[in-house]
C-alpha cells in the first residue's frame, strides 16, 4: 500500500467518524432492557397460545396446592428460562464473561436430576416406564414447540440488537429459554406430572427449540 492511499483511507475514517458522531442521538434501550421486554411479551404470547390451543387442565389450582410434582414442573422450566435468557444476554455482549452465566444452567439440570432420583426412590420399579411414557407425550411434543415458537421469535428479535461472538450459540441459548417458557405454560395443561416424564419429553421439546434457535441464530444474529 502506498503512503498516499493510506492517508486517503485515514481521511475516509475521519469522515466516517464525523458521520457516526452526527448520529449520536441518545442511545435506545439497553440490550438488557430489550431482552426483558421480549421476555415479558414472550410470556404473554405463550400463555395466550396455550390457553387458546389447549386450555389449562381442570384441576390445575388444586394440583398446584397438593402436588409437589405439579409445582416442580413450573420450578424447573422457569429456572431453565431464566438461566438460558441470562446466558443469551451474556453471549450477546462483547467482552462479557460467558462461563459464569453458563454455570447457571446447572440449576435446572440439578433440579431435574434430583427430582428424577427422588421419583425413582418413591415409585416402585415396575411403574417407572408407565410414568415416563405418560399418557400424552405426543401432545407434549406437538404443542410444546408450538407454544415455544412465539417466544423464540421474540427473543431472537431482541437479540438482533446484540453482538454475539458466536451467533449460533446465542441462538441456542435463546432456543433453550424459549423452550423453558413454552414448557412452563404447557405444564399447566399437561396431565403428566412425573419428573420421569418431564426429564424425557420436556427435555426433548427444549432440545428441539435449542436446535432451532441455533439454526436460526447462526443466520439472523450475525453482525
Amino acid at each position: 500500500m502506498t503512503p498516499v492511499s493510506a492517508e486517503r483511507e485515514r481521511a475516509d475514517t475521519e469522515a466516517l467518524i464525523a458521520l457516526i458522531a452526527a448520529d449520536a442521538a441518545p442511545r435506545g434501550p439497553s440490550l438488557r432492557a430489550s431482552l426483558l421486554l421480549a421476555l415479558g411479551a414472550a410470556v404473554l404470547v405463550a400463555a395466550g397460545v396455550m390457553q387458546w390451543a389447549l386450555g389449562m387442565r381442570g384441576d390445575a389450582a388444586a394440583a398446584f396446592l397438593s402436588s409437589a410434582r405439579f409445582v416442580f414442573k413450573f420450578a424447573v422450566t422457569a429456572a431453565l428460562a431464566v438461566a438460558a435468557a441470562h446466558l443469551a444476554l451474556a453471549m450477546s455482549r462483547p467482552g462479557a464473561r460467558v462461563a459464569g452465566a453458563a454455570a447457571w444452567l446447572a440449576v435446572p439440570a440439578l433440579l431435574i436430576a434430583g427430582a428424577v432420583a427422588l421419583e425413582l426412590l418413591a415409585v416402585p420399579e415396575p411403574a417407572w416406564s408407565a410414568r415416563m411414557v405418560g399418557s400424552n407425550w405426543l401432545v407434549c411434543l406437538t404443542y410444546g414447540p408450538l407454544i415455544s415458537l412465539g417466544p423464540l421469535g421474540l427473543l431472537l428479535l431482541a437479540l438482533r440488537r446484540g453482538a454475539p461472538a458466536v451467533p449460533w450459540r446465542a441462538g441456542l441459548a435463546a432456543g433453550l429459554a424459549a423452550g423453558g417458557i413454552g414448557t412452563f405454560f404447557y405444564a399447566a395443561h399437561c396431565p403428566d406430572d412425573s419428573p420421569l416424564f418431564v426429564a424425557v419429553w420436556y427435555s426433548l421439546v427444549v432440545a428441539i427449540m435449542g436446535a432451532l434457535g441455533a439454526l436460526i441464530g447462526s443466520r439472523v444474529l450475525r453482525w
Binding site: R10, D12, A18, I20, A24, G28, P94, G95
Partner: protein
C-alpha cells in the same frame, strides 16, 4: 466518561472518543493482520468496520462494566471477519466514503457505474439518505444545518443518517 456522554447524545464527546480510539484500533488491526501473515493493507477496513459496530451495537455495552474489554472484543470480532473474508478474496470495501459519494453522483448516469460493488453500495442508500450522508460527510454540516439545507426535520435527518450507517455496515459485512 466520554462514552457515557456519547451515549447520552453528546456528538462532540463521541467524535473525540472515536478519533482518539482510531489510532489504537489501527495499531491493533495491523498487529492482528500481520500476525495472521496477511498484508496490513486491510487494517483500515478493520478500523472502519469496528467504528461502525461500536456505534450500531453501543446498546450492548453495560455502563457498569469497563469499556475497554468491550471495545477490544468488538475489534477482535471485526478483525476476524476481515481475515475470513480476505481469505475468501471476497472484498466489499466501503473503500472511501468519498469514492462512494463520487459514485453516488455518477449514479445519475447508470452506465457510469463501473464497479459492481460501488453499484451495490449506492443502491443500498436511497436519495434522501445519500443527501444526508453527503451533507454531513463532505461539508461537515451539523444535523441541524443539514435539516435546514434539505428542508427536513432534525428527526428525519437523524433517521436517514442512522439508516445510512446501518446500510453501510451491512454492505461492508456482506
Amino acid at each position: 466518561m466520554l462514552m457515557r456522554s456519547a451515549l447520552d447524545g453528546d456528538g462532540a464527546a463521541y467524535r473525540e472518543l472515536l478519533s482518539a480510539l482510531a489510532p489504537a484500533l489501527r495499531a491493533f488491526a495491523r498487529r492482528i493482520l500481520l500476525a495472521a501473515g496477511r498484508d496490513a493493507g486491510d487494517a483500515e477496513d478493520v478500523v472502519q468496520e469496528t467504528l461502525l459496530a461500536l456505534h450500531l451495537k453501543r446498546q450492548t455495552w453495560d455502563p457498569a462494566t469497563p469499556l475497554a474489554p468491550w471495545i477490544w472484543a468488538i475489534a477482535r470480532h471485526k478483525a476476524v471477519d476481515v481475515l475470513r473474508r480476505s481469505g475468501r478474496r471476497a472484498e466489499v470495501p466501503i473503500d472511501g466514503l468519498e469514492d462512494f459519494l463520487a459514485d453516488a453522483e455518477a449514479e445519475a448516469e447508470p452506465e457510469a457505474l463501473s464497479s459492481r460493488d460501488a453499484g451495490r453500495m449506492v443502491a443500498s442508500l436511497n436519495g434522501r439518505e445519500r443527501d444526508v450522508v453527503e451533507a454531513v460527510c463532505l461539508s461537515g454540516a451539523s444535523v441541524k444545518e443539514t435539516g435546514a439545507r434539505l428542508a427536513m426535520s432534525e428527526g428525519a435527518v437523524r433517521v436517514a443518517l442512522h439508516r445510512a450507517l446501518k446500510r453501510l455496515a451491512a454492505a461492508h459485512g456482506g
